[in-house]
Structure formats: structure tokens, C-alpha cells
């Protein structure tokens, strides 16, 4: 059936995100927090994450321009981003944040710049993937709702 297909697809998408390292088990925790009281919790958090992280990334970007070699400042901003990433389990992004901070620690401007580009790339990639994932979930959920009102757990 459609919805079970969709759900299967969503499940396999999620698995591949884990396998590729985009997500880690913190994401599972986040999803686990979903319940009747907060049925869309995971998606809400992820949406909030992307909104907030976009801001943080732009902070870093500005800092890189406006405050050359101000490693402390860069590091501080990046630390905030890293904190967010770790809260939702954005594993690859988190690694890139860490490597950026390492470069800051070493005072390596080039390294910082490169690493920052990677952070942005990972951010974009993760956003795409998660959007697709939640889209699929929504479809699967909706289908379930429509076809089987008391159906098996709508959200997966």
C-alpha cells in the first residue's frame, strides 16, 4: 500500500542518513520525544534548528570578514553552532564545526576558511535530506490518516 510504502521509504531514508553519518543517535532521542503531546516534535525541532543555524552560520561568516584573525570570536560563534548540531544529532556538521574550532585553536586562518565552507556544505546537504525525509513522513502520515483512521501509529 501506498502509505506503508512511503513509510518504508522514509525508514530506509533515515537509515541511510545514519549510515552516511549525517545523523547520530541523538536524532533518535529527539524522535523519541515525540508523543501525543508533541506529535510533530522532531520536525519542529529540525525546523528550528535550520532557522537558528542559518543565523549562526551567518554570524560566523560576518565574523570571518569583520574580525580577521579573531580566533576567539570565531571559536565562540562556532561553539554555539556546534551546540545546536549536537542537540539534534547533526553529526557531520558537528564534526566540521569541531575541526573549525581546532583550526581556530591553531591560529590557522586558511584552515578555518576551508573548514567553514565545509560546514556550510554539510548544513545545506543535511537540510535537503531532512526536508525530504520529513516530507515523506508527512505523506506517509497523511495517507495513514486518510485511509486508516485508527491506523497503526501515524508518525513513524
Amino acid at each position: 500500500m501506498d502509505y506503508s510504502n512511503l513509510r518504508r521509504q522514509a525508514a530506509s531514508m533515515k537509515k541511510s542518513l545514519f549510515d552516511q553519518g549525517y545523523l547520530d543517535e541523538q536524532f533518535c532521542q529527539v524522535e523519541d520525544l515525540q508523543d501525543e503531546a508533541s506529535p510533530n516534535f522532531a520536525e519542529e525541532v529540525v525546523t528550528l534548528f535550520f532557522k537558528d543555524s542559518a543565523k549562526l552560520i551567518s554570524n560566523v561568516e560576518q565574523a570571518l570578514e569583520k574580525y580577521p584573525k579573531d580566533f576567539n570570536r570565531w571559536d565562540a560563534y562556532m561553539q554555539q553552532l556546534k551546540g545546536s548540531c549536537s542537540s539534534i544529532g547533526a553529526s557531520r556538521m558537528k564534526s566540521e564545526c569541531m575541526s573549525f574550532r581546532d583550526y581556530c585553536g591553531q591560529g590557522n586562518v586558511e584552515g578555518c576558511m576551508r573548514s567553514f565552507q565545509k560546514v556550510k556544505r554539510e548544513h545545506g546537504a543535511l537540510r535537503q535530506k531532512l526536508e525530504a525525509y520529513f516530507q515523506l513522513l508527512r505523506q506517509a502520515g497523511q495517507l495513514v490518516l486518510l485511509e486508516l483512521p485508527p491506523g497503526p501509529g501515524c508518525k513513524n
Binding site: D32, A37, S84, I88
Partner: protein, 680 residues
């Protein structure tokens, strides 16, 4: 729903502690906060969240009984998590758990030494959160047992069924075990209020119950304590002997023991920061009730609040404007923690009208009345920032503000802490500071001037004008203008100011030297240097919600006395350091709280804060007295300027022993109160 209804509802839930335990979560990261909130809900706790530390503090100050536990992020833009931690620990004595992405040992250590009862790394997991309720229980427990051994029945008489339940769970049996000694948990024990309980029987409610009465370590009491300790020798001082020497009724050995523990930590911290720039914390004496200083934020600068009624007149150095906002320029307080002394620890206790309220957290301040302005100046060498010390046990450690005992008429005796004597060891260029002289002289007033705190600013070695900080004499700031009469001894000392003029003229107004530049004007203004960072500025405002800038007249409803005295001795050469810790001092709601936050910030930038730093001292002393909150805004002191190490060492010390040598100063005082880097 209405507060009481809500509380009732919550109360019902609390019967099944830890279910329904009330947690306040603070994190500027919305994602983390959201996840955390849900995790906590999953544990069946009752969660309140905020992304701003100032808001959190305000909520807590309004009613600390609304929460059982606080979880806070370390890195927040509006306030350093450690500061919040100290403040909460000092003012409300609630367990605080720190959260951070940063798991480096030294950061974790910092959290622990600041009194966090736990330190969690992000991302936080559910299993970890399931156990946090232990901290609440543990704290109640140790309070109970610490309260007094004799009265342990009180502990065993939990007022709530659930405590009993919990208690027995913990003790595994009869409630009688309450008295059993709990292991000393240094980390948060030191932070625990454990204020020497003067009255027996600390209430021992269920862990989630409202506040427990604390023993108030008034200035006087603390002075006695320090005197006793000094007499015995810090190494040999044992609670029993101290208790004997102090000879205070109704004080138990346990009270002394816990106070001693805090004191020791305080000293240790001081010596650790000794190398840093010292900021001078000028304590302003507030009205008679002292201003209880809520946690001082060490780094930022202290705010000394001055009672509305009377601002202690500060020593000439322009320290504080008596009446209204006194701006301190605290300089030199380098960001280093020591300055934190003021934070959190210093609580300037406001006297509820009794004279003994002045608590100077300055250890060793023997001023009797309590108001000793503890000028904490951390000398560079010593870093005396008595940070925490101030706050410790007594809520009143108002080191900075030594409120002169006189409180009786509600006129706060304010003390000013001043001094940092020896602090400026570095070549503070300008340090002049020492000024924090508070003149206690309340002419003729019944207030007594409490010991003058001598602020000796040994600022700058290199500076020609090294002057000893004249001890700030605690002066009672009464409505009447204080005449700037320093204790004679203090005055004598002052002469040296580099600027040649620290004039110690007690002016009714405490005027803080605004200029953050190190060059504090010879007028001896204490310049509060605020840390260069803008966020620091926020600290200035921290103070019970009311912004520090409020003028005294405005009357801070918040009861926060925010005397911000920033005494910073800033050596110009020194890098920006934060001066003074910003500690909002909040008093217990019942007493007028003095929220004094000393904000000592040294602004790194050359832009000296304009004369503007006014320190609004909000002295909410006794409730009867009008509280004027004066915000002290400390000018940012350049870090360069400041780095004066002004050690405040406790005005008390100075009072007691004027001009002790630096070492002793720092030993005695922990500059808790204020990290005033007084740079003049």
C-alpha cells in the same frame, strides 16, 4: 492560573517527588532548549524555560520557591553561565546544573568550583536527566544535617509527606538519620547557603519545598569568625575552636564548619587569582539594612547598591555618589575570575533593620557592625577578588557594602568596600584606586561607621603614586550625607594616591569614577571598568531585573541593590580585564534586598566609559527604608587600564586591621564582593 492555584497544583504533583520537580532551564540556544525541555518533561518534571539568564534570575528572585533546580548553559550572550550559577547559588541556594558543549576539564572544574552540583555535556541524554533530582534531595539533606546536629529532629520532621518518603528512601529507614553527616561535597557545599544558622532547626521541608531559613552570617558575625580564624591560624582553625573563640550563642559548630569551608574555598580562589589583575571592589554601604548582595558576578563588576536613603558616601575618590547612582569605574578587574568574587558570593546582606545586618563578607573584617564595605580590590598580586566569599554563607556578605551598623533607623550604613590595597601591584598606571573609601562617617548619626575599609591600593608598583588603598570605612549611609570622614587611619593611607589626590572626601554621593581609563582621575573616582565586551554591559544591568541604570530615585522595585562599584585599579598596561564581578545582590525578598551588583568591567577599549558609570546603588535595605536602586553602571574599563589588581580583601579586613599587608588582606577577605578593580 493564579500563582497560588498553580502552586497548589504543583504541590500536589510534588507529593510524588521527583515527579513534578520544578526545573528552570536556561539556554540561549533555542534548539537545545527545546530538546531539553522535552527531555525534562519526559522525566515528568515541571519545566520552565527561558533563553535569557537575566530573565531566569528575575524569576528566581521573585520567588525562589518556585523552583527546585536550575539547569543552565555555560555560554550565553547576556550573562556568563558561571555568573548565573554563582548568583543562584548565593542568593537562592538552589542546586544548579551546568550544561555545555565544552567538556574540557578546566571548564568543568570551573563549574564545580563555582558551585555547580553537576556538569552535563551536550547533547544531554534522557538517562542523565532522570537522575538530576538527586541533587535537590542531596542539598536539602545536607542543609538539614548541617543545620545543626542537635536539631536534627527537625530534619526528621519533614513537613511534607514526600520528603519523609524521600528521606526514608535515602536514609533507608528512620528519619533519625537526618543528622548523619553527609559527605562534604565541596562543590556545592561551599555554595550552599549553609549560612550559619543562627536559629536552630533549619526547616527541612521536602526537597521541593520552599526556601529554608538560613543562618545569616552577618558582617559582625563574619568578622568574629575571621578574627577567630586569624587568631588560630588558617591552617589550625578548627570549627570547634573557632566557635569557642567567637562565643556566639546559638551558633553551632556545624554552622561554623560550613562557613569555614566556604571561607577556605574563597581564600583559595583568591590566591589563585592573585596573579590576575585585581579589581577593586568598592563596596558601597547601603542603608542600614545591608544590601545583600546577590551573587556577584565576579567578572563584571560589582554593583554596590546604596540604599536609597543614603548612599554611602564614598571616599573621595569619587567613588560613589552617595545619593545616587554611583558609578564606579572598576578597572582592572581583569576578566579573570577572581573578580568574580563579587559575583555570587558576595551577598550583601541587608539588614532588616537590624544593625547586624551588615554582613561583610569580607572575611576578617572585624568591623562590628557589619557594614563593612568590603572593598575588594584584588590586587594584582593577589587577586583578591573575593568572589564567592562574599556570598558565602551569609547572605550578607556584603563585603562591598558594609553597611554600617546602624541600621537601626533604617539608614543604611553603607560601607564601602574599598580598597584594594595591595592590589595594584602591577604598575597600575593610574591606579589610584584605592579609593574606595567609604566614609562611614555619618556624622552624628547613630549609624556607626563601621570600620573603615581601607583600601589600600598598592597599585601600581610602577606608579609612583602608589597608594595604599584607604580602607573603606564602612559608613553608614544614612540619609544624611555622609561626611567623608574616613577613618583616620584610612585616610592617612590614602594620601598616596597616585593621582595625588585621592581625595577622600566623602561625598554624599558616591560617584564612581567614571572614567574607565585607568587614569582614574585623581579624584580617586573609582572607575569601574567594565569589561570590554558589550555583553558585559549587560551584567551591569543584571541585578535583579532592574536595570542598573535606574537611578536611585527610581527606586528599584527589584530590590536589587546594584551597587556597582567598580573599583578598578587598572594598570594601564594590563590587558582588559573584567573588573569586578557583577553580582546582583538580591536580598531575600523579605528584607529589602540589596542587589548590588558590582560591575566592574574593564573595558578594554580605550573608550573609557564616560563618567557615566554611575553606579546606581540600589540599596534596598530594610524594607522600611526606601529602596533606591541605583544602578551602577560601570564604565567599561579598558582592560588595558585595568588590570589593576585591587584587592578588596574585604573591607572588613581593612576595618579590622587596617592596612594589613596585602597578604593578609587577601587572606582575610576573599574578595567576594566585588571585584572592583578600582582604577582610579
Amino acid at each position: 492560573m493564579r500563582l497560588d492555584e498553580r502552586n497548589a497544583a504543583v504541590g500536589r504533583v510534588r507529593d510524588h517527588f521527583p515527579v513534578g520537580m520544578r526545573v528552570l532551564a536556561v539556554d540561549d540556544d533555542p534548539v537545545c532548549l527545546k530538546v531539553l525541555e522535552n527531555l525534562l518533561r519526559r522525566c515528568q518534571y515541571h519545566v520552565t524555560t527561558t533563553n535569557q539568564a537575566v530573565v531566569a534570575l528575575r524569576m528566581l528572585r521573585q520567588n525562589r520557591d518556585l523552583f527546585d533546580l536550575v539547569i543552565s548553559d555555560v555560554h550565553m550572550p547576556d550573562m556568563d553561565g558561571f555568573k548565573l550559577l554563582e548568583l543562584v547559588g548565593l542568593e537562592m541556594d538552589l542546586p544548579v546544573i551546568m550544561l555545555s558543549v565544552n567538556g574540557e576539564t578546566k571548564t568543568v572544574m570551573k563549574g564545580i568550583t563555582h558551585g555547580a552540583c553537576d556538569y552535563l555535556l551536550k547533547p544531554v541524554r534522557l538517562e542523565e536527566l532522570r537522575n538530576i533530582w538527586q541533587h535537590v534531595v542531596r542539598r536539602k539533606f545536607s542543609n538539614c544535617e548541617r543545620a545543626n546536629i542537635d536539631g536534627y529532629e527537625e530534619c526528621t520532621r519533614p513537613s511534607n509527606a514526600d520528603f519523609d518518603h524521600v528521606h526514608s528512601q535515602i536514609t533507608g529507614g528512620t528519619p533519625d538519620q537526618c543528622g548523619r553527616p553527609s559527605k562534604k561535597r565541596k562543590e556545592y557545599h561551599s555554595e550552599e547557603e549553609d549560612e550559619g544558622e543562627e536559629s536552630n532547626g533549619q526547616e527541612n521541608d521536602d526537597p521541593s519545598a520552599p526556601k529554608k531559613p538560613r543562618v545569616v552570617w552577618s558582617v559582625e558575625l563574619h568578622r568574629k569568625f575571621v578574627a577567630a580564624v586569624n587568631q588560630l591560624g588558617i591552617d589550625k582553625a578548627v570549627p570547634k575552636r573557632i566557635l569557642e573563640l567567637m562565643n556566639v550563642e546559638r551558633l553551632t559548630r556545624e554552622n561554623v564548619a560550613s562557613h569555614l569551608q566556604k571561607y577556605r574555598l574563597y581564600l583559595k580562589r583568591l590566591s589563585a587569582v592573585a596573579s590576575q589583575q585585581a579589581s577593586i571592589v568598592a563596596g558601597l554601604g547601603g542603608n542600614d539594612p545591608f544590601m545583600r548582595m546577590g551573587a556577584f558576578e565576579g567578572l563584571q563588576g560589582y554593583q554596590s547598591f546604596a540604599s536609597s536613603a543614603a548612599l554611602p558616601s564614598f571616599s573621595p575618590q569619587g567613588l560613589l555618589n552617595r545619593n545616587n547612582p554611583t558609578s564606579f569605574g572598576i578597572q582592572g578587574m581583569s576578566a579573570y575570575r577572581p573578580i568574580q568574587i563579587a559575583t555570587g558570593n558576595s551577598t550583601i546582606s541587608h539588614s532588616n533593620g537590624d544593625p547586624n545586618k551588615y554582613h561583610l563578607s569580607l572575611p576578617g573584617t572585624s568591623s562590628r557592625q557589619g557594614n563593612l564595605a568590603q572593598g575588594l580590590t584584588t590586587s594584582v598580586g593577589q587577586v583578591q577578588l573575593t568572589q564567592k566569599w562574599f556570598h558565602e554563607e551569609t547572605e550578607d556578605l556584603s563585603t562591598i557594602l558594609s553597611v554600617s551598623g546602624r541600621a537601626n533607623n533604617g539608614v543604611p550604613g553603607t560601607l564601602q568596600s574599598v580598597t584594594n590595597s595591595h592590589l595594584l601591584q602591577h604598575g597600575l598606571v593610574e591606579c589610584r584606586q584605592d579609593k574606595v573609601v567609604i566614609q562611614p562617617s555619618s556624622s552624628g548619626s547613630s549609624d556607626r561607621l563601621e570600620g573603615t575599609v581601607g583600601v589600600s591600593s598598592s597599585l601600581m608598583d610602577s606608579c609612583a603614586s602608589q597608594q595604599r588603598v584607604v580602607p573603606l570605612s564602612a559608613f553608614s549611609t544614612s540619609a544624611s550625607p555622609m561626611n567623608g570622614s574616613f577613618c583616620s587611619n584610612a585616610i592617612a593611607e590614602l594620601g598616596a594616591t597616585s593621582s595625588g589626590g585621592t581625595n577622600i572626601c566623602p561625598s554624599n554621593d558616591l560617584r564612581v569614577a567614571r572614567d574607565n581609563k585607568v587614569g582614574a582621575s585623581s579624584s580617586g573616582n573609582v572607575i569601574l571598568l567594565s569589561p570590554d565586551t558589550v555583553p558585559n554591559q549587560k551584567y551591569l544591568n543584571f541585578g535583579g531585573g532592574s536595570n542598573l541604570r535606574q537611578s536611585m530615585d527610581g527606586g528599584n522595585t527589584d530590590n536589587l541593590l546594584n551597587p556597582k562599584f567598580i573599583w578598578s585599579c587598572l594598570p594601564t598596561s594590563l590587558p582588559p580585564n573584567l573588573i569586578g564581578s557583577h553580582h546582583p545582590m538580591s536580598q531575600r525578598p523579605n528584607n529589602g534586598n540589596l542587589g548590588g551588583t558590582m560591575v566592574g568591567q574593564t573595558t578594554a577599549s580605550a573608550s573609557t566609559a564616560a563618567p557615566q558609570t554611575r553606579i546606581d546603588m540600589i540599596i534596598s535595605g530594610d524594607t522600611p527604608t526606601p529602596k533606591s536602586a541605583s544602578d551602577l553602571s560601570f564604565p567599561r574599563v579598558h582592560s588595558e587600564l585595568s588590570s589593576s589588581s585591587c584587592s578588596f580583601d574585604g573591607l572588613l579586613n581593612s576595618i579590622i586591621k587596617v592596612e594589613k599587608d596585602d597578604a593578609s588582606f587577601s587572606d582575610d577577605l576573599g574578595c567576594d564582593f566585588y571585584s572592583l578593580g578600582a582604577c582610579i
